[in-house]
Amino acid sequence: MKFAVSDVSIDPVAARRSVADNSCGALVVFEGWIRNHNEGQAVERLEYEVYRPLAEKEGARIIDEASERFGISNAMCIHREGLLELSDIAVIVCVTSAHRSEAFAACRYIIDELKNRLPIWKKEHYVSGISEWVNCQHCAAAG
């Protein structure tokens, strides 16, 4: 399991453990959390819709690309779907390697590519009662 979509809470301890290996000198972890504000709006909770068949295939591909490109030891990622509350972990990426530069670069690569390429959509529910699909309001207005 290099890439997974989960409909239950992400366990960061288990994620970290899954990439450990005593040939590695460096671990870099990225976690994306649900924060209480976005673009000036107070956020109450958030909903991720994931198209799993393609997200899983593309997620695994991104991790393979990072492995080849940066020569890391291990990498994994879990992305949530469903309803999330403040402070929940939306996504975790863990990378290990012999030295730290590759681990930093690969972790950054994986999260950047995931955000651009995976068929995942985020609907923010604001304290005001309004809800909105993130990244869609401007395009919709232009359409």
Binding site: G32, L114, K115, R117, P119, W121
Partner: protein
């Protein structure tokens, strides 16, 4: 030519359907998107959207075939 079209997130809410069977003269993914934009009147410009055909990401110029499943994705926002 019959194809299946699926809508996600904002597109599903705009069209009011998760999927539909479409019978049309055939053409590219872009042409089908235009067709559906006309039908539902609410989809955003294709430049902002993404398309996948049979569970693989595809270009808008892809020619569609009988029985294809076409997925229209609004802008993604993972992470």
């Amino acid at each position: 030519m019959k194809v299946k079209v699926r809508y996600f997130a904002l597109f599903r809410e705009q069209t009011g359907v998760a999927s539909e069977l479409v019978d049309w003269p055939g053409g590219t993914a872009a042409e089908l998107f235009q067709e559906m934009t006309g039908k539902h009147a609410t989809l955003m410009p294709e430049a902002a959207a993404l398309v996948a055909v049979n569970d693989e990401m595809a270009g808008w110029e892809t020619s569609l075939a009988e029985g294809d499943e076409i997925l229209f994705f609004p802008p993604v926002a993972g992470g």
